[in-house]
């Protein structure tokens, strides 16, 4: 019981740090292509950790399945949308930022 709660705590704290990282990325990265990483990597990972933390707490299998399905959908949508937005930005003539 204690172990379960402790794991959940740890996972949630980790998730919080990923979400914060995503926020910093969104605010501080120099252009849209960099910021897309905040969306696709940090936040989706954070959500994944939240889902796992809640699955540990879940007492029925269909709750767990719903959580996994939610994460999966967000993951797929996030990846696709990042690709689409990047493509659109390139089409509109934005050039990716380079650190010179």
């Amino acid at each position: 019981m204690f172990l379960r709660d402790a794991t959940t705590c740890l996972l949630l704290l980790a998730a919080a740090s990923f979400f914060l990282a995503g926020l910093v990325g969104l605010l501080r990265f120099p252009d849209v292509f960099c910021r897309l990483h905040a969306l696709t990597k940090a936040d989706n990972l954070g959500l994944g950790l939240v889902c796992i933390a809640l699955i540990i707490q879940a007492d029925s299998w269909h709750g767990a399945v719903r959580l996994l399905l939610t994460w999966f959908l967000v993951l797929v949508s996030g990846a696709t949308v990042a690709h689409l937005i990047a493509r659109k930005a390139l089409q509109q003539g934005q050039t990716p930022w380079r650190n010179r």
Binding site: L69, L73, V76, S77, T80, H83, L84
Partner: protein, 328 residues
Amino acid sequence: MTLLFGHLIDLLLAVSLTVLAWRLLATSDLFKATVLFIAFGLLMALAWVRLDAPDLALAEAVIGAGITGVLLLTALRHLDSGARVARMSGRSGRRSLRVLLPALGIMPALLVLLCLSSPHIRSTAGLTASVIERLDQIGTDHPVTAVLLDFRAYDTLLETAVLLLAVVAVWSLHPVRPIFSPEPISPAQRGLLRLLLPVLIMTSLYLFWRGSHAPGGAFQAGALLAAGLLLLLLSEQRLPGRWSGMFLRLLLAGGFMIFLLVAAGALVGTGTLLDYPGGGASWLLLSIEAALSLSIAALLATAVIGGRPSDRSTEFPPRRKDPAGEEG
């Protein structure tokens, strides 16, 4: 601790809703306003959750984040070039209204004070108890669905009329134009559609089925289906010409007409409007709901497309022929 966090969430939500509304209405960049409005919808859904109204959160999620978003983003193409034409033609009165400014500043403050101090607020029990009490007389055990489809079914009938009316009004204005850009669709988008659509339909069925005993129901399921239709539309799927006539109109009006027929049948049979036989047999409610869901999906998607299908049975909505060319 728990209570404090709850309070802080409520406070933060309320403040950010207000600030967001102010920012989105103050900007003159319409695209920015639209994106802020989508974010506003997200926060509204969270507010409904905090207010313990998951039905409203569901509706706000589908309508605020999904359908209104598509509606506004699609409309922007026609509206955001140049503020001059997109401006109301009238000019009189606005200057004189400025004198009302102080009143507009003081009134909210007064109203807030009043509502928070009134002894009547929250002293009445409301109707929760009487709804719960009568739930076993009817064919559903989710209170909101019971109110929508039985206790205040007449409101719902008229609301469905408003939905149909909105489509009639939109269609009366102009023939449909091609609404999306003709450039090729990314294969990733097609892949996403193939993945999302089955899940979306399943979820919609699930919401529909849950509606009889938990948050969900005909409206949310229909709106979710409408979002699915819009996703199809965004991927260049169209209604073939032979279906964009009578079939489409029957689909749009079907839910309303069935509801109306049930109401009229009850009026002939029992002399009372919407008095379901057998105290609201669940199969009857279920079939009304099913027809309503389908119609609502079609109505919302059609209202977003904005424009009537042409008389010569062509695809609905039409394709844009020339990538660089004129609209219409």
